[in-house]
């Protein structure tokens, strides 16, 4: 069943909200009262409810089945977290309420900060970044601020990042005014340490490395990498997108990291919600801690406070802050959920979760390797990387294989990333999948691989068939962008 746009259903006089009639007595709007129509219809509540419920039914979601998106950590979202985040004391609290009226919120932020610092083995954390990429920005800004404090900001303009890096890494570095240079791989899916060393120099601000990396592997030489960079006077930014493989198991601080963002919406299960909101608190080493952004929580005589402005920070003797990243104090709604998740797991549960995540990925790797082609040897961390060699000469491409998974009832894995592998398929089951679900999933993929090899190319090209839509024309969408609904032309209206 097709679902019309809300604009095609309602009319401009309708409304699904009952409000009292304004008296009409007041107009202190400075002569700027709106005198045109906005053009937005209102739907009655039953119409609106159906509209959005029907829309929802066109989505796939974790609660429906596996969502094996490598690098995205789509795990179970406990409803306890939703419940506590909606407690009026959190959900209905104004960011500029007096500190005396927000002691519980500040304590919560401080408690979550403690967990994050302890789990990463880092001495400081910036809580305000709004998402992973924002956390990267925070970390790289801190590096820039540290370089400025050393008087080297003008000189150290290069940032190194592996070929396999997330796109956000180079984009972030550029936003900070750095130039990005690629570090080649070593053929086993890891950074080539020697090649890295060659690129180091006194014009290098630092490196950005994901660990476990985007090939699903742990960087064996991580300490040597960190040491080399530090020796060259640079800083080590670690992309924390894959923290789910090691949380509760390994402290990144033990590996020489200077800054790392933490995707609360990945590792700590705050819901992705169709693309956000996320939250990207960023832990910082001793070297970078003084440059943490505003605001931050303070604790004095058992009372929590907020240091919100440079003026205030200077008064507190910490005036080196890189500044403000967002209007208020970060993604409080996500903090509540993440802390609820962490407390529920505890250190034993987080360790077990990381182990199960790695176990599940290796189980998928082991079960699929007979028909599909793993890109690298040996065990993986929490995601298993395959390339398209097993599809060679079948006419089926990675995208076709992925779309065929939809017809089997699954969300496709991450495709064509990382770029270092041809036709990459990155499978991250997470710890939320039971053995039974994994077996069904592997059976389905093995059967697809066999069908591809057996020459059923047509059906792959046609997939998906059992979805609300067949393949969509993305080229046309980009060529002639239609980014909003417009009322039908008068000609049509006059029909």
């Amino acid at each position: 069943i097709e679902e019309a746009l809300s604009f095609e259903v309602g009319d401009l006089s309708g409304s699904g909200v009952d409000l009292q009639e304004p008296s009409g007595e007041y107009d202190r709007l400075g002569g700027l009262k709106r005198n045109n129509m906005i053009g937005l219809p209102g739907l009655s509540e039953p119409e609106a409810m159906r509209h959005f419920v029907r829309l929802s039914q066109k989505n796939y979601a974790i609660d429906m089945g596996p969502f094996p998106l490598g690098s995205c950590t789509m795990k179970h979202n406990p409803r306890l977290n939703e419940k506590v985040a909606r407690l009026p004391g959190f959900a209905d609290l104004h960011p500029l309420a007096p500190e005396s009226a927000a002691q519980g919120a500040l304590e919560l932020i401080d408690t979550l900060a403690f967990w994050l610092k302890e789990l990463t083995g880092m001495p400081a954390v910036a809580m305000s970044p709004k998402a992973g990429a924002h956390g990267e920005l925070c970390g790289m800004m801190a590096i820039k601020a540290a370089l400025e404090a050393r008087g080297e900001a003008g000189k150290r303009v290069r940032v190194l990042a592996p070929e396999s890096a997330h796109g956000t890494n180079p984009a972030t570095a550029v936003l900070c005014g750095f130039k990005v240079e690629s570090i080649p791989g070593d053929g086993t899916g890891r950074v080539d340490l020697e090649a890295l060393k060659e690129k180091l120099g006194d014009d290098v601000a630092g490196i950005m490395v994901t660990n476990p990396n985007t090939c699903g592997l742990f960087e064996r030489d991580i300490r040597a990498i960190a040491d080399a960079v530090h020796e060259a006077g640079g800083y080590f930014y670690c992309d924390g997108a894959n923290f789910n493989a090691i949380a509760g198991k390994v402290k990144p601080g033990d590996l020489g990291v200077d800054a790392m963002h933490i995707n609360l919406h990945k590792t700590f299960s705050t819901p992705h919600g169709g693309g956000g909101p996320g939250a990207g608190p960023t832990v910082l080493s001793e070297a970078l801690a003084p440059f943490a952004p505003l605001p931050y929580v303070s604790l004095e005589d058992g009372k929590y406070g907020l240091v919100e402005t440079l003026h205030h920070a200077e008064a507190e003797d910490s005036g080196e802050t890189l500044g403000r990243l967002t209007a208020f104090h970060g993604q409080m709604g996500m903090f509540t959920r993440a802390l609820s998740y962490m407390m529920s797991h505890g250190k034993d549960g987080l360790k077990q979760a990381s182990e199960d995540a790695v176990l599940n990925a290796n189980y998928v790797l082991a079960r699929l390797k007979s028909e599909m082609t793993p890109s690298f040897d040996g065990p993986c961390m929490h995601e298993a990387l395959f390339d398209d060699r097993f599809l060679k000469d079948t006419g089926v491409e990675t995208i076709d294989f992925a779309k065929a998974m939809i017809d089997e009832g699954y969300h496709p894995m991450t495709m064509y990333f990382p770029l270092v592998v041809h036709g990459a398929m990155l499978v991250e089951p997470t710890e939320s999948e039971s053995k039974r679900e994994l077996d069904l999933f592997c059976d389905a993929l093995l059967s697809l691989a066999k069908r591809a090899k057996a020459g059923e190319t047509e059906s792959f090209k046609a997939a998906p068939v059992y979805a609300p839509r067949r393949r969509l024309d993305e080229t046309a969408a980009a060529r002639h962008p239609v980014l909003r609904w417009s009322p039908p032309q008068k000609a049509e209206a006059a029909e």
Partner: protein, 447 residues
């Protein structure tokens, strides 16, 4: 542990299939002394225990609905229909990922398309993106976008711009060596920002209603900017105001950024919120953030996809228009549902109820000895000059159960002349009894 489906028999069977002796064999690449670190953290807890512990923290805060409430300055207390929170909690919305697989994400994509349409219409612009983190980061991105479009270095910040928005924008711009000119605090919208626009100016950033509540006419500023080849970036921190006021687009803005929290989203102590970002069609390839576009599927049916991703970091990497990846998906849904329920008829009514509440509040407070209303115009927020330090007055009233507004010193601590300022907001949630309580307590505090 209740979230982990395996039992130990499963784990052993799986290790056997893998061919690993134990789980740590899979972690062989981790330096041995870093593996299985110690953590000074508690073990797992049951749902009841966690709920109780966090509940104890929650009650240490004072919820906006607990009593008379007049705080605004960039985040507003509105009544949100129960339908909104119900729908956004549906599994299919809550637990979905970014709609990179459009065939099984039409639900998300269609509401993003509806969201973009709503935002563009409200702002009086041609197009809008699928959201930013919040209004303030959107403001920073708008300045960067203006620099890309004009290839100029200077950005002018109005003295009525929310100081936090100014701070975020400065943090962003200074990184790339841009010149930021901040106009001084402008209590009554009398600044002469027009004369500062020159041929080096990339953009001028002006907020309306401004942080002190003044309604600003952007038309002359837009004209002056355009005359110099600069852009006007308009900022709207209270989206409900657009039900009562001329849109920035009508007044000539080139980019409009806004905070969408007021529709559908709770106060949440500052986040997550939803950044609104709208501009002219001609600038779409310079826009940051996700965009959803209409297209057709293999059978010719209408469908929606994320589009123009060649601007984005995951395709364009170091040449991207922004590093933004995750945006405010679920908050945009809440916005879209609330706006769909309101419709323009409802939004207009809601806006006028807000305006009325503010007018009534202002009238009541202005009568008090030691209170001076500074605004000539306002929507649902205005600024008072008190005869005493406003921070102390606010603390005093909080003890009395009235959350009175934002003291000037909280936003502008370096300005001594801001110490007695109080920024007061009133929405449809404010009752006559609330106003009465505020007035009487304020009179008491000032006497």
């Amino acid at each position: 542990m209740r979230y982990l489906p395996h039992n130990n028999a499963d784990r052993q069977a799986m290790l056997k299939t893998i061919g690993a002796v134990d789980i740590d064999a899979l972690f062989a690449d981790v330096p041995a002394d870093a593996l299985n670190a110690d953590f000074d953290l508690p073990n797992h807890q049951g749902e009841m225990e966690v709920e109780r512990a966090l509940g104890r923290l929650a009650v240490k805060n004072r919820a906006a609905s607990q009593g008379p409430f007049f705080i605004g300055a960039g985040a507003y207390k509105h009544h949100i229909p129960a339908t909104v929170d119900h729908v956004i909690q549906r599994s299919e919305f809550l637990t979905a990922y970014t709609p990179y697989q459009p065939e099984i994400a039409q639900g998300t994509l269609q509401y993003l398309f509806e969201f973009q349409t709503q935002v563009a219409a409200l702002m009086g612009m041609e197009v809008a993106n699928a959201s930013m983190y919040d209004g303030s980061t959107g403001c920073g991105e708008a300045a960067l976008m203006a620099r890309r479009i004009t290839k100029r270095g200077k950005v002018l910040l109005s003295g009525g711009l929310h100081p936090h928005y100014g701070a975020v924008t400065r943090t962003n711009l200074e990184l790339v060596g841009a010149q930021v000119v901040q106009s001084p605090m402008d209590l009554d919208a009398s600044e002469d920002i027009v004369s500062q626009i020159d041929d080096d100016t990339a953009c001028v950033i002006v907020q309306t209603p401004d942080v002190f509540g003044n309604v600003r006419d952007l038309t002359p500023i837009a004209e002056a900017a355009h005359a110099h080849g600069a852009l006007l970036v308009a900022v709207v921190t209270e989206v409900v105001s657009l039900g009562a006021l001329k849109s920035p687009g009508e007044m000539g803005a080139d980019i409009v950024v806004g905070e969408g929290q007021s529709l559908g989203n709770g106060l949440n102590f500052g986040g997550p919120y939803v950044g609104l970002f709208a501009t002219r069609q001609k600038y779409i390839r310079q826009m940051p953030g996700r965009l959803c576009g209409e297209t057709t599927d293999a059978e010719g049916k209408r469908g929606f996809v994320l589009t123009l991703s060649t601007r984005e970091q995951h395709i364009r990497r170091d040449k991207a228009t922004s590093n933004i990846c995750t945006n405010s998906g679920l908050c945009t849904l809440a916005f879209t549902i609330h706006m769909t329920l309101l419709g323009e008829a409802g939004l207009r009514k809601l806006a006028m109820l807000n305006h009325e509440a503010a007018c009534k509040t202002a009238d009541a407070l202005a009568k008090i000895d030691g209170v001076e209303l500074l605004n000539k115009s306002y929507f649902n927020e205005f600024t008072l000059r008190l005869s005493k330090d406003a921070s102390e007055v606010v603390e005093k009233l909080a003890e009395d159960g009235v959350l009175a507004g934002v003291p000037g010193a909280r936003l502008l601590p370096h300005r001594k002349d801001a110490r007695n300022l109080l920024i007061v907001a009133a929405t449809e949630c404010v009752s006559d009894e609330d106003i009465e309580a505020f007035s009487s307590k304020l009179a008491e505090a000032l006497s």
